[in-house]
Symmetry: none
Subunit: 210 residues, 4 copies
DNA sequence: AATGAATGAGGTTTCATTCAT
DNA sequence: TATGAATGAAACCTCATTCAT
């Protein structure tokens, strides 16, 4: 079996990360044992250490991969949407389209990782980098919309970006353990309503002068 | 004599919970050992088990206590504020007034607990109860505002309530590990702006000073 | 059982060290598991960690204790012997009197520790300290003999001291695995002969003038 | 073709043993992994198992080879030295000429092997054989000296031989971790002095220059 | 009620050895 | 013959919990 291709190894690494995600999101970082991951994948405990240095290494690489995948996916899709408004709409639609269970799974992992990294100097720096990528992606859209005249000129793009993510995470957080998909969708819809009402040029208040 | 004893016991329980909060928020649930708590409090490991059944028991009682304390505190304060708008304003002000470090500490505990409880049937039910109290508190305010004509009639009070908490938690989450107090304040301010713009009947900013 | 006396704890520590010595000398450092020591002593694995920080800690404390015990024992006995010659004679007699199996056991431990410490910065410093005590003890005797006129004036006391220990260890090393007690005794005897012939005033060479 | 193959195989075996010596002496038997050896040599882990059955096998073969090499080397050199005294002098000179670091490295390996073998029946027998070769080599020299009248007739050649090796090993042991080359040389010198003073018929120092 | 020594299950990681390629 | 991924036993150490004092 040895002398395998680089592609094989990459595939193996990915498979381990995928299996680890299942375990971490299901049982938490502390609650997941290397044995859990190994058994879940049907491989030996030792083989995991051929590809990763430690449990924490798996955790970190997993987050890295997810963030890159997510940002790249959005960036690619954004190219198919002309205006900033359409791009934001696309994002909202993605939230709506995603099965709630998937969202929960991923969110548990994300949240726990965020807390975990906030207690670890080394992870902190890397996590900041990850976050910058995601924030930067939206920041660009907001700026694009302000330049194109879609959004109000006097907005602070950075603040709006922060709000955008904050609300998404907050909503997901509140749906972490209960709530139906229908409730979730209505909340996303309302948030979209609230956001556009706040940033849009054309969402001019009805009869108000401010 | 029994009365004194009971008071003493309650005091002891509270002290342990307080010490446990320091530890849990600082090092996380898994990262905190019973020894950590005992040493932090200057008591013996054994004495902790006189007052609580297990580590998880401490964790759960602590959250219970915090939730009750917070909701009761808000409810009491609300009585001093006439309108729904003033009540919401009071809440925003509380967020602003709270030192960022305190917020971070507490949020880490809350978030971790939320995730933790989402993986445990028993904790789930109790956590739902806790959340209902907090949500209910805001729900009342929103309804009050809608009835008084302060807020738009066509709002879905439940959705607005969910959004209110979701944004608060989302913002706190994003400030978990970095960001200055100034940035935080600006974000809270912007959120307030966005929220009122969304729910208010005629949101006439008073000289734009808020 | 808790709230035990300091004496109890010291006794426990000593018992663990004694049990560890049996294991380390019998199976070597690497070959000895914490479980071996625990089982040998009839205590739980965990309790060992109540008294020592790690396997290496046990190893180091054990050597420390043995060295101190040995040096103190010799120093005390030396007081009963007037001349330097008598003191050296006493040492030789100790080697003769000691059961060969005991010597082997202890030597295995000592030798392995010496090698082990030569590969570890931290242990090195401490081991040097231990060695200085043992060397210093003999150095005093040699100097005493030179001052009293028992030994030759032109000797380098430090060199003689080194030789003294080196030969003892060398002999013990060669008897590590085989050889009878009788052979061992004859070798010790011959060494004594050789040493005194070298250092003694009265061992004046027969007819030689140097 | 088979001849070439056999030579190649022998060369490979030797290379592995050489690399293993570097690792074993540097990190100890337990501290050396098969990977260490493989990486040090730039070969694969698997290839090592083509030439040796196990880690212990390498260890044993290595000692075997070293012992044979050493004894053969001395025996060859001895032919160039006429008298027993000259032969012993040659050995002393070898100790002096050898860089201290080399000596340390090799001694660590030898000592650890000695201890290791003392705990293993099979290795014991083989080690005894090795030792007999080395002891026998010196034994011959001592006997030669006694027959030629260089050394005292009443000596027990076996005992002197044992002492000879014991002192050498003892000195090396004491220089295992510290001490300068200068100190080492003086000790070797003093040992030589002591030994000749003990075994020589008429040990007339030539102007006291050695 | 308070103490803290004792317990032992369970976790992470290492590494000699095997074997498919 | 060479490779190195895979295996899994086994090691060290932690820590929630118990219980004798």
């Amino acid at each position: 079996m040895p002398k395998v291709t680089e592609a094989y190894k990459q595939q193996k690494r990915d498979a381990i990360l995928e299996g680890a995600l299942d375990c971490f999101s299901g049982k938490g970082y502390a609650g997941t044992t290397i044995d859990d991951i190994a058994i879940h994948l049907g491989v030996s405990k030792g083989s995991i250490y051929t590809y990763f240095q430690s449990k924490e290494d798996i955790y970190i690489r997993l987050m890295e991969k997810r963030m890159n995948t997510m940002v790249n996916s959005f960036k690619t899709k954004f190219q198919a949407h002309e205006s900033a408004t359409e791009k934001l709409n696309y994002m909202f639609q993605r939230f709506i389209d995603q099965p709630l269970e998937d969202l929960r799974r991923l969110l548990k992992f994300h949240l726990e990782f965020t807390i975990h990294s906030s207690r670890n100097e080394d992870m902190q720096a890397q996590m900041d980098g990850n976050n910058q990528k995601a924030l930067g992606m939206i920041l660009e859209v907001i700026r694009e919309g302000m330049e194109s005249g879609e959004f109000r000129q006097e907005l602070d793009a950075g603040i709006v970006t922060s709000l955008f993510w904050a609300v998404r995470d907050g909503i997901a957080l509140h749906f972490l353990s209960d709530g139906t998909k229908d409730q979730f969708n209505r909340l996303i819809h309302e948030w979209k309503e609230m956001l556009f009402r706040y940033i849009n040029m054309s969402y001019a208040p009805r009869g108000n002068t401010w």
